[in-house]
Symmetry: C2
Amino acid sequence: MRNSSSLDSLAINLATVRQQWNLREAVEACARHGIAGLDPWRDQVSALGLAESVRVIKANGMSVTGYCRGGMFPAADAAGRQAAIDDNKRAIDEAAALEAECLVLVVGGLPQGSRDIGVARSMVADGLAAILPHARASHIPLAIEPLHPMYAGDRACVNTLCQALDLAESLGEGAGVAIDTYHVWWDPQLEEQIARAGRAKKILAYHICDWLIPTRDLLLDRGMMGDGVIDLRRIGGWIAQAGYRGRTEVEIFSKLDWWTRPGDEVLRTCIERYRAHCC
Amino acid sequence: MRNSSSLDSLAINLATVRQQWNLREAVEACARHGIAGLDPWRDQVSALGLAESVRVIKANGMSVTGYCRGGMFPAADAAGRQAAIDDNKRAIDEAAALEAECLVLVVGGLPQGSRDIGVARSMVADGLAAILPHARASHIPLAIEPLHPMYAGDRACVNTLCQALDLAESLGEGAGVAIDTYHVWWDPQLEEQIARAGRAKKILAYHICDWLIPTRDLLLDRGMMGDGVIDLRRIGGWIAQAGYRGRTEVEIFSKLDWWTRPGDEVLRTCIERYRAHCC
């Protein structure tokens, strides 16, 4: 692992402070705290405007570890699926303007009224294949993020790292995975699948937060590193051993706790906990 | 699949009506509704007394599809792990008195203060090995239930059917799996692992309920069949194809809905929905 006193390997996913700051404020706060990597969301970029977002990020010397998010491919009809493909191409263009290292993809769950997760998974594969040429031409790698199985119905029907890697490998050049500890920590195959991802050079992003016990909300009760049960140091070690040299990105959705605190306190705590638990 | 008008293949897990009825009332209600299979919980048996529970169940001609539940093997120290083993042996004795077809095992999560899920998994394997001779001697098969990954920290660190089968196969004779749609429906490997379980003759129980969107509580917001997104007919078909001939057991924890309704309405609905969605 790298020197724990340095913040060179830390990034902040801006969802972590989305209730406190707009994109401009968040970028300036990261700079103030010595964090030079971040991952903005499309709604945050849209609110400030793409050109101004690019300007603010560059002016503050930030690198963009990823852009959140594309995906959501399944839809009940062909028009809906085409709309998703078109929207993903726009996301790729925005990611290129931001010089993001990848586009993070939350692939989508079951179309309205469907119980056929196999068909949803096919729609995801088809959608990815449809946007891949544009992603390659734009030099924006597609980072397929396996989401925790509790989101299989409504957010992402790609639910294990193995499944994400099978997809990324079938797509080939320009497709990889985003590994988020929250989604994969429980997986009995995690160590071997991280090693596999490393051998395939498919690890495009590494996100961290913690799993709280109890978890009071399926979506918005993620924990600060050290407050839960995930062995972040061990998983981070596997990620490093797999050859990943990108930043470690903190991404915490926390309606009940961290979103209610001052943003500076959140960033200070991210830094402290990153140093204490993740290096 | 069997004749859908018959209830010969239906059972009720008594957690489904635990807020409405004690064991005696629940048994008599099942009999009234023409359901002749049930799965009681230890606290329900304890409240009525084991001998009286056995008497009531036999007097009403019920078969006991399983007994809920053993497990919870991991503990922070050796004394705690031994206490769990001793308690599981008592559960086996109770299951034998009830002539249950298996003891359902929720294996346990991380010991207090631990983040090492690998060690917890070893404790589970050790605990299972420790109780297996008593289970074999008592003719009570051990049904390892993989729980949804959202319970990996606090309830069960066995989280996929593949993992449960690996364990059951390493234990050999007297160990199998309980397959609950709520826990496994999302698994990309589900079809192949059910087939594997069938070939190994390891399917000891099949539980059903539905996954609601949104799910408002991690533990107590399971859905009635047909109200969610699980393709119960398809999964039931895989189970039947795998050679399982036992009953299909409805198990619904529903603090926000079904536990608040009259028990007779719940049982009537279970029967209707079973016929409409699961046969």
